[in-house]
């Protein structure tokens, strides 16, 4: 018995690292990224697997493969869409920067012609102090979180490289005080000379620059996050470059996350003297996010959509927690992974994905069991048949209405993020249909409490959508004209709405045909006309929202393409170890599901509880310092006392359950109690919930967490 219980430590456990196994040979067969070998999958992904006959299994396997393939396709589509959107947004500023780079290079070249003599002389000839200026661009990011802009700078690097520049993308990691100037120089050389050297010597760069045709193009160094660089290293780097600027005309691009003052504050004045600065501004994250939402989520580009709760969660993450595009994209990816993992019917998504709707895009039979189909009134088989194409139609209507609304809201800086969130809300939609939209939807709309993706971000009463609609009435004629033009564009291809918009535009044209010479009366009348027109426009969009803006969650079969499990998404995206680990300890019974420690009220220490759990429960009674002696005594009391009670009880009523408990060792020796105490303290120390005794307070440990 004792030998079996002894701590079993293998050699591997004590090695810093070891190879567990090498890739099996089976992977030598060309393996599609989506398909896994069926042999390997013992536990099937689909939860609905009840019958185990072979054809069913085969079907499931097929479905699973197509689910994985659909996931792959959808994600590739989304990824490329996002890339395009960002590319378009950045195109202007990139071109601007490129123009500046070329101009600066021209300026350097004209000031002093480079020749081999100068380049090969041992030390650069500095003619006068003002001449060794480095052209520097400060690229101001409008987000203090620089993660989003990492990709932007990478793209900028690619963009400039495509225009012939010699590029190096450095980051604050290269400018650490620890590795010093050698560190950044080394990465610079690695990138420009393609990793052929590991020496940190700028003269290598100088001689390389003179080779072949290299000197015909500028060397551009991007430093993504200047604010986080070590000030002295960066200053030294700039001073060094300025000494060599005649030989190697380096152009610097510095990303600034804080303010334009930052470079002056960070760099030494000597280094600042050598900079010849220009400024550029990157787009605001909200604008980028709106563009991405429009392309990815509003226009159904991929056959994947998210439900209202998920949208609200993502929105809240962006607005209140993170504020970065990166985390938004990550959330979308996580959502899509979870969706295809969880939804067995997602193998049929393909119908929605294809540009032209295939004939065989009916939903499968099983789809009838979906909750959204239960309330279908029309004959079910028909609903199945029209399947994806019908859904696509509804979605197109929805997205064009949302985009029209966004056009209206743009003047008031209403973000698509907010509009999108509200447009997805099935409750609002139902209210809208029962109520008149003009009248405020419902001020007493229940405010739901999802813990983190809640509604706490206050929405002005009446809802964003009706507020947006009201704005139309106040539009001046010129703006209204522009708006109608935009609507015309947005609704193209959606006949149902497009016709009405066209009609409205015709009316507008008629109004404009009024004779240009206007008397005062006419002006008034004209105003009246345009008032009428805006009234009509407002009526149109109201009608559009009421009739055509059907959120995805109100459409039958939406479960197939729509991910709604916000809790799951949240759990996967942001773990909460501080809370969860404490809960594990305090409610261990929930996980272990044992019969012995089941009490009505939790938090009552019993001897059968997991030792560490028991100790942590006891610790709850203490203040920030726990007296080890007291803690030990209460622990010992609990573990021994209940055993006695059980023994006593078992004599009275020897039920089989009780007997099992008495089978445990009755006498707890001092040594074993101390050992258990020690181990529990160690485990709590590993979780970080305790701080160990200090020299000054040898008899106390410190509690770290109070409350979850």
């Amino acid at each position: 018995m004792a030998t079996a219980d002894e701590v079993h430590i293998s050699d591997n456990d004590l090695k810093p690292f070891f190879v567990l196994h090498k890739a099996s040979n089976s992977q030598q067969h060309a393996r599609k990224p989506v398909g896994r070998t069926s042999r390997k999958v013992k536990v099937n992904l689909s939860s609905s697997l009840a019958a185990s006959d072979e054809s069913q299994l085969l079907d499931d396997q097929l479905h699973k493969n197509s689910r994985m393939k659909n996931f792959h396709d959808a994600w590739v589509k989304i990824e490329s869409t996002i890339k395009d959107v960002l590319h378009n947004i950045n195109a202007d500023v990139f071109n601007e920067i490129n123009g500046w780079v070329q101009k600066s290079f021209g300026a350097i070249c004209s000031s002093g012609k480079l020749d081999t003599n100068k380049a090969t002389c041992s030390y650069p000839i500095v003619t006068d102090v003002t001449s060794n200026q480095i052209f520097t661009a400060f690229v101001v990011m409008s987000n203090i979180e620089f993660v989003d802009d990492l990709q932007t700078f990478a793209d900028l690097g690619v963009h400039l490289q495509s225009h012939g520049c010699h590029m190096a993308n450095l980051s604050s990691v290269d400018f650490s005080a620890k590795s010093g100037i050698g560190g950044c120089l080394r990465s610079l050389l690695r990138q420009i000379l393609n990793g052929s050297t590991d020496a940190a010597d700028i003269s290598i760069l100088a001689s390389w620059y003179m080779e072949h045709d290299n000197y015909k193009n500028p060397v551009v160094v991007i430093i993504e996050d200047m604010d986080r660089c070590s000030a002295s290293v960066l200053s030294d780097f700039i001073l060094m470059l300025s000494e060599w600027v005649i030989k190697i005309p380096v152009i610097l691009i510095l990303g600034v996350a804080t303010t334009l003052e930052a470079p002056k504050n960070i760099l030494s004045s000597k280094a600042v003297q050598h900079l010849s600065p220009s400024k550029f501004f990157l787009g605001h994250p909200t604008d980028r996010l709106d563009a991405i939402i429009e392309a990815v989520l509003v226009k159904p580009c991929s056959g994947f959509l998210v439900g209202h709760k998920v949208a609200a969660f993502i929105r809240n993450c962006f607005l209140r927690q993170d504020g970065t595009l990166t985390s938004f994209v990550r959330a979308v990816k996580m959502a899509i992974v979870q969706h295809f993992l969880m939804e067995p019917l997602s193998f049929t998504v393909k119908g929605l994905l294809d540009e032209e709707v295939a004939e065989a895009d009916a939903w499968p039979r099983q789809a009838l069991d979906l909750p959204s189909c239960m309330r279908l009134s029309e004959p079910k088989s028909e609903a199945l048949l029209s399947g994806a194409s019908q859904m696509k139609e509804v979605l197109n209507l929805w997205s064009s209405v949302v985009l029209c609304l966004h056009e209206v809201g743009k003047n008031q800086r209403t973000t698509l993020l907010d509009l999108y969130d509200e447009a997805l809300d099935p409750k609002l939609y139902n209210l809208r249909n029962s109520d008149h939209l003009e009248v405020k939807p419902d001020p007493q709309r229940p405010s739901w409490n999802y813990d983190m993706h809640g509604q706490s971000f206050e929405r002005q009463k009446g809802g964003l959508i009706s507020r947006t609609i009201r704005q139309i009435r106040d539009l001046p004629p010129a703006a209204l004209h522009q708006l109608l033009e935009k609507w015309d564009k947005q609704t193209e291809g959606v006949d149902m709405i497009h016709e009405k918009v066209k009609e409205l535009r015709l009316q507008e044209d008629d109004n404009l045909k009024e004779p240009p010479t206007r008397s005062r009366k006419q002006t008034i009348r004209n105003n009246g006309n345009s008032d009428k027109l805006s009234e009509k426009a407002a009526a149109l969009i109201t009608c559009m929202t009421r009739e055509h803006m059907q959120p995805i969650e109100c459409i039958p079969f939406h479960e197939i393409v729509c991910f709604r499990n916000a809790d799951k998404l949240q759990a996967a995206l942001v773990g909460d170890p501080r809370k969860r680990i404490q809960l594990d300890l305090l409610e261990c019974n929930k996980f272990l599901k044992c019969s012995c420690c089941c009490t009505k009220s939790h938090n009552v220490p019993i001897s059968s509880m997991h030792d560490t759990s028991l100790m942590y429960t006891l610790a709850q009674e203490h203040g920030n310092l726990i007296n080890l002696h007291d803690w030990y005594q209460s622990f010992k009391a609990v573990i021994s006392q209940t055993t006695v009670k059980d023994k006593h009880k078992s004599k009275v009523s020897p039920s089989p359950k009780k007997r099992k408990i008495t089978a445990q060792p009755q006498i707890i020796t001092e040594a074993s109690a101390q050992a258990r105490f020690c181990r529990a303290v160690t485990e709590l120390q590993i979780t970080g919930l305790l701080r160990m005794p200090s020299k000054r307070r040898q008899d106390y440990v410190q509690r770290v967490a109070f409350g979850l």
Binding site: D5, E6, V7, I9, D13, K15, F17, F18, V19, L20, H21, K22, A23, Q27, A30, R31, V43, L45, V147, S187, T324, T326, V337, A572, L573, G575, P577, R578, R580, I581, Q582, F591, L592, C594, S608, M609, H610, G623, N624, L625, N627, L628, H629, Q664, P665, S672, Q674, A675, R676, C678, T682, E683, I686, T687, G688, K695, Q698, R703, F706, G707
Partner: protein, 363 residues
């Protein structure tokens, strides 16, 4: 019902507030000493720890077993570029290794034991590169002829080179991954920011996938946004196992064995006995002074020197200093600044312990 819950929450909150704020000085605080417990000898304690009878063995086994159904999900997430981060109370070592050996047979798997005190990440990266190289070598040449450069032994390459190799381009038809399993990525050997940055860079490589576990409640503080969103790209999974932290806890001193007076006395005696009789006597002078003046902050060096010279223990300050250096190295003596600005020496032991120690060396 709901109101009741809110009340309870509020009560809980205020209770926690006062518990946390309870100052050390308040009279209520228990002042019982650990030494009041009849402590078992450390060796016996260790033996006893290894013999602790497991509780809920069956339940724990079935709990861990229940996570098996998630393996496919995890493998899927891993394949699509997420890193798996498992957390929850209990050792996840066996769980992760079981997952790696059943569901990740297509990857090469390298395990890092982050609970150890020191880990050389360069060696880890080298091993990863070697494994990956073998893997790529076995592939049909057609697609990836260029990616395998002339082979320079990996262990002489720089970290940047290794990372560049791991981040190499994929052959279109055949993706090769090396999976890095890191037990306790928040462990003592990896807790510094340099290691974490290095791990993040490795995790971001195109040929690398990471499965890691954390146990510390504040582990997420190790990472900034770039690491979390871009490099590690964690997908969190809450998997409490309640399995004992056997190996993870081995390196933690036992609370009832460590820091207690008897223990320090024992180690101090051993150290002192290994020193010369003169050095022992110098220590005794200091100890007696400290016992005689318990309220003093310590003994000034010149006072110690005079009294030692009087007893013919040392002849010069140099000899005394060499003794003192020895003491300080073994943490037998510490230096602190006296309130009048003078440096003075003291022995970092309680009065009881010191008395015991003096007795021991007198024997």
């Amino acid at each position: 019902m709901e109101d009741h819950d809110i009340d309870e929450d509020e009560f809980e909150f205020s209770r926690n507030y006062f518990l946390a704020k309870e100052s050390g000085k308040s009279g209520k605080k228990s002042a019982r000493k650990l030494s009041e417990i009849d402590l078992v000898d450390e060796q016996d304690l260790r033996a006893e720890v290894s013999k602790i009878e497991p509780k809920h063995e069956k339940e724990i086994a079935s709990l861990i077993d229940s996570y098996k159904s998630l393996y496919n999900e995890w493998a899927f997430e891993l394949q699509y570029g997420f890193g798996l981060l498992l957390y929850g109370f209990g050792s996840k070592k066996t769980l992760i290794e079981d997952f790696a050996s059943t569901a990740l047979t297509e990857y090469s798997v390298i395990v890092v034991n982050g609970y150890l005190q020191s880990i050389n990440l360069k060696q880890v990266a080298t091993a990863m590169a070697e494994v990956l190289w073998e893997q790529l070598k076995l592939q049909p040449r057609s697609a990836s002829g260029g990616s395998i450069k002339s082979q320079q032994p990996f262990n002489s390459r720089s970290m940047d080179d290794l990372i560049a190799f791991l981040d190499g381009p994929h052959a279109p038809e055949n993706e090769s991954f090396v999976c890095l399993v890191i037990h306790n990525i928040d462990g003592p050997g990896l807790r510094d920011s340099e290691s974490q940055h290095l791990l993040a860079r490795i995790a971001a490589c195109s040929h690398v996938r990471v499965v890691a576990s954390i146990d510390h409640v504040n582990a997420p503080l190790l990472w900034d946004k770039k690491m979390v969103h871009v490099q590690f790209n964690w997908c969190w999974h809450h998997v409490p196992t309640f399995a004992p932290y056997k190996i993870e806890g081995v390196f933690h001193p036992l609370i009832l064995a460590h820091g207690s007076a008897s223990q320090s006395v024992k180690t101090a005696t051993i150290v002192l006995q290994s020193l010369t009789p003169n050095a022992q006597s110098v220590f005794k002078v200091l100890a007696q002074h400290q016992l005689a003046h318990p309220d003093d902050e310590g003994m000034p060096i010149d006072v110690l020197f005079t009294s030692c010279r009087e007893r013919f223990l040392v002849s010069s300050l140099v000899t005394l200093n060499s003794h003192l250096t020895e003491f300080k190295d073994h943490e037998l003596v510490k230096l602190r600044r006296h309130s009048d600005g003078q440096d003075c020496l003291y022995i970092p032991l309680s009065k009881d312990a010191l008395e015991k120690l003096v007795q021991e060396i007198n024997q």
